[in-house]
């Protein structure tokens, strides 16, 4: 009996509980026995507990260097610092699978704790779906891919982690991305539950939208961090290489983004129900496809660190998911009758349709490009690579149209937009784009695509800022100082303005991509001490190499001076680090220094002795905008997601002056609602014209809630206005009883 056996035992127990959850949740829902559902809920929490236990066991095994465990021996060594030892937990195949299962169970637990907010009829099916996915992962973990398998005899020291993975970026990027993949199972579970019960109401939509936002934000963070890691570690001067694994992570992001937009059409118009369900299912299927691709190694990639035979199981699982959800989908199709209400193409919903077409089009093109080598191999026996030039050419025009649509979309109103208003709102951004298009070519930008892209980006940035400014101005005109007006705008219309922030972030990111794609300058040089490289206004003077030996690693760095604007800026030390067990895979220590918005990226490619080095220098303009834009996007996503405070507003009518009276009356009010004729309902029955006059008097958007015909929270208002509440204390308590 070893300590690590505790992990195995917990996994098996967790598997048992997961199966129990599915059975009980489904039984409880179909037979309508709430006790069974409650039991399933607790059992899902038990799954979380045992997975936490198993993960803790693995981490303890790592930290105590229990090299009797094969996985620990393979992925850590005595010399590794504790943080890399801990992160080795998800550094390999089995551990990352365990990490997945853990994340899924944590999401499930979060769902169970917030289940009160989800539509009650769906809860058991959501739990069953989550537990079903968990069963698959746990079955893999307990049979073919266990991290707790022991070696016949413990080895004295482990192999250690792949040097590429020993980087601070690696501590957060893979767990983020894996978590992102897994988080798509929640929207999927909501979709499955809705298809089973046939309840696709607005409450469901709200819940699934919020969970998708969570996945979206996590996936965005994961993608940005992944790009950042590649930029800082791989040494080719870029951050996105259209590698199959990167593509696989981008695909669910694209479909989730499409869903987040089209779901708003469903929310307001009741249209696109079928399409939205399809997008949710596709997002989840694509995230499983992503893992399958990473695991199976059928498509060669720089990011695959964990090859194994379990790819086949993932393929089977993917097949089951697709068959299962398509079946449900077809079964439910007749009841998904859309309510069609479409006024005009030039409207917000029209722009969302365009957005969906583009995003799904990009997603498909990328998927097709990723799969094409396999197809080509199977049908024409040609080994084919589909590299960045393909993706650049196919997706570039689509992304440009997408960014343009991001500028026009927010200017369109729901339902319809008058062309005159549109023209007026478009004038300033269009002027900005024209100025940009006229100035940049003169300023030396010669590439046609770069000019188009910059003009479009300036259009969109200007359009978004102008839209925000108009909102601020409207509020300011009604007496709010500018900073407060801006804050209130974001506070009141979170979805809308949070979305604008995401768009702004994306345009910033796009500017960074354009800058580094079109204006990257690269130079290689073999240098002897005293020699220099001159590149794009920067001068690098080489001094020599420094070799430092440590017990388990050896670090070689070159010393260089950076001169810019005729001044010595600083010394840089690009280098290589050798790990004892990975002698032929030196990790790169890349020197990246930022001057304004330009990165100077220096990579030590080769070296001979202490006095010769092959240096590769990139000047990457605007790359810092990529990280900044990513940050803004995530921030915008969080603002969109941030829960709205339930505004409990108390109307001070003449009869009831004290807000404190409300709680005591709640019981009474639950039974007795205001009769027609109370002050509020009269307001509702006003005809449109009067309200229009009323609007002129107090038109601050925030006050819409308190306008006479406001309908939200009416129940609370009516509680106070209820006649039964006015009849004196004893009666009130009587009714409450």
């Amino acid at each position: 009996m070893h300590f690590s056996d505790l992990g195995n035992i917990s996994l098996i127990v967790a598997l048992g509980f997961a199966i129990y959850t599915v059975v009980l949740a489904v039984l409880g829902a179909t037979r309508n026995i709430p006790q069974l559902v409650a039991s399933a809920r607790r059992s899902l929490l038990a799954v979380t507990f045992f997975l936490l236990l198993a993960s803790a066991t693995l981490i303890v095994s790592f930290l105590t260097h229990d090299f009797g465990v094969s996985y620990v021996a393979q992925h850590s060594s005595l010399a590794m610092p504790w943080y890399y030892t801990t992160s080795a937990f998800y550094g390999g195949q089995e551990g990352s699978l365990l990490y997945w299962a853990l994340m899924l169970s944590i999401f499930s637990a979060v769902f169970v704790f917030t289940a009160k907010r989800a539509p009650a009829a769906l809860v058991p099916y959501i739990m069953a779906t989550l537990a079903g996915i968990e069963i698959f992962l746990l079955a893999m973990l307990t049979t073919v891919s266990s991290p707790f398998v022991r070696l016949p005899a413990p080895v004295p020291d482990g192999v250690g982690l792949n040097p590429l993975l020993m980087d601070p970026g690696m501590l957060i990027h893979p767990p983020m991305l894996l978590m992102g993949y897994m988080s798509f199972s929640l929207p999927f579970a909501f979709a499955v539950a809705a298809m089973i019960t046939g309840k696709l109401d607005s409450e469901w939509l709200r819940a699934i939208r919020r969970w998708t936002l969570v996945s979206w934000a996590i996936q965005t963070t994961g993608l940005i961090l992944g790009a950042w890691w590649a930029y800082h570690v791989l040494g080719w001067g870029g951050y996105w290489g259209w590698d199959p694994v990167e593509n696989a992570a981008l695909l669910p992001w694209l479909t989730a983004t499409a869903f987040l937009h089209s779901t708003m059409v469903q929310e307001r118009r009741g249209m696109l129900k079928v399409w939205n369900l399809g997008l949710v299912i596709a997002s989840f299927a694509l995230s499983i496809f992503g893992t399958f691709e990473v695991r199976s190694g059928i498509i060669s990639s720089v990011h695959s660190f964990a090859y194994s035979a379990i790819g086949g199981y993932f393929l089977a699982f993917l097949g089951i998911i697709i068959v299962f959800s398509t079946g449900l989908f077809i079964y439910r199709l007749p009841r998904l009758r859309p309510e069609q209400e479409f006024d005009s193409v030039i409207s917000r919903e029209g722009s969302f349709l365009l957005n969906n077409l583009l995003l799904v089009g990009i997603a498909f093109a990328i998927l097709w490009g990723t799969l094409f080598p396999l197809i080509s191999d199977a049908f024409s026996h040609q080994t084919m690579t589909v590299g960045p030039p393909f993706y650049d050419q196919v997706s570039r025009p689509l992304f440009i149209v997408l960014i343009l649509a991001m500028g026009i979309g927010p200017l369109l109103a729901w339902r319809r937009t008058s062309t005159r208003a549109l023209r007026r709102n478009l004038a300033i951004p269009a002027l900005a784009a024209a100025v940009c298009a006229a100035v940049l070519p003169v300023g030396g930008i010669r590439d046609i695509w770069a000019n188009i892209a910059f003009a479009v980006c300036s259009f969109t940035i200007c359009a978004i800022l102008y839209e925000i400014w108009r909102g601020v101005r409207v509020r300011h005109l009604h007496g709010e100082p500018y900073p407060l007006a801006l804050y209130m705008l974001f506070e009141r219309y979170r979805q809308r303005y949070g979305g604008y922030l995401v768009h702004l972030g994306l345009v910033m990111l796009a500017l960074g991509v354009i800058g580094s794609h079109f204006f990257q300058v690269q130079q290689d040089a073999v240098l002897k001490p005293g020699q220099e490289i001159n590149i794009a206004g920067y001068k690098l003077v080489y001094f020599g190499n420094i070799d430092r030996k440590y017990p388990d690693t050896e670090i070689i760095t070159s010393q260089l001076q950076v001169w810019h604007d005729g001044k010595l800026q600083q010394y840089i030390y690009p280098g290589r680090q050798f790990y004892a067990n990975f002698g032929n895979q030196p990790a790169s220590i890349i020197s990246i220094t930022t001057y304004g918005l330009t990165d100077l990226y220096v990579f030590l490619a080769e070296w001979t002795g202490p006095a010769e080095a092959t240096i590769r220098v990139f000047v990457n303009p605007l790359v810092p905008l990529v990280w900044l834009g990513g940050l803004v996007m995530v921030l915008g996503g969080i603002i969109c997601w941030w829960p709205e405070r339930r505004r409990r507003r108390v109307v001070f009518s003449e009869a009831v002056g004290e807000p404190e009276a409300e709680p005591a009356m709640a019981g009474a009010a639950r039974n007795g609602k205001g009769p027609p004729g109370s002050s509020i309902t009269q307001g509702v029955l006003h005809d449109g014209k009067d309200e229009h006059e009323g609007r002129r008097k107090r038109p601050i958007p925030s006050q819409l809630h308190s306008r006479p015909y406001a309908l939200k929270d009416e129940e609370e208002e009516m509680e106070v206005a209820s006649p039964y509440a006015l009849k004196g204390d004893d009666e009130e308590t009587e009714v409450a009883r």
């Binding site: 479409f342 006024d343 799904v360 960045p388 729901w414 549109l422 092959t614 009587e734």
Partner: protein, 229 residues
């Protein structure tokens, strides 16, 4: 008159931008340096000994040699296409970093483009269908389905209308909606709100009746108790 002026302004701006572009980008094509041309060719070729890197990006020895060959051939006056062809004839298609526009691999390019165009066409037809449907239906349509909604659905419906009204209001204030559109949309939603509230009241009245009855019986009971005392 004003409209014509703005149209003229538009044309003028377009003409300025167009002339700058055609002058800078077309009549005076940028002189590419040898370095740039070498990089252009090298980034079209895949490094055969590395994983996922082009010849331009790869630090491998083979790639360095290939870059030298590219440079040499470009200097000797070959065009970029010819240099690429040279490598294809030596290594086959697998050296290309993207599928060539011919034969079977043409599919790699055509299918995404075709599907996108197909999608756009589909969207067009769907939209046209929706528009004709919407025109045929009367504007107050959405509210007719209120019958048969239960209380919670009705509450949701009303909440949604309120959101719509709020959004219409904001868009009007921002100047995205014209006065006329604003009025008609506002009226439409208000009418729906009224209908929803009416049907809400129907529910309420039924509830009220029940409660009144209940209260009456309770009062009677109370009286009886008092009477006994």
């Amino acid at each position: 008159m004003k409209r014509r002026r703005s149209l003229l302004l538009c044309i003028a701006i377009l003409a300025i931008v167009g002339s700058i572009w055609s002058y800078v980008l077309i009549t005076a094509p940028p002189q590419e340096t040898l370095d740039q041309r070498e990089h252009d060719v090298a980034s079209q070729l895949k490094c055969l000994v590395c994983q996922g890197e082009s010849v331009a990006d790869s630090p491998a020895l083979l790639s360095q040699q290939m870059r030298a060959i590219i440079r040499q051939q470009l200097q000797s006056g070959k065009s970029e296409q010819e240099v690429i062809q040279y490598f294809v004839s030596r290594y086959g298609n697998r050296i290309l970093w993207s599928p060539p526009w011919q034969g079977f691999t043409l599919l790699a390019w055509l299918i995404p483009i075709g599907l996108l165009l197909g999608g756009a066409l589909l969207l067009f037809f769907v939209l046209r269908g929706w528009l004709t449907q919407a025109n045929a239906a009367s504007p107050g349509d959405g509210a007719l389905t209120l019958e048969g909604m239960d209380e919670s659905e009705l509450a949701q419906y009303r909440q949604q209308i309120e959101k719509e009204l709020q959004e219409v209001e904001l868009d009007f204030q921002l100047g995205n909606l014209a006065e006329g559109d604003y009025r008609s949309l506002h009226e439409r939603y208000t009418r729906r709100a009224v209908l929803a509230t009416k049907s809400h009241h129907k529910h309420e009245q039924e509830l009220d009746k029940k409660i009144e009855e209940r209260l009456r019986t309770m009062r009677e009971e109370k009286k009886n108790v008092h009477a006994k005392e």
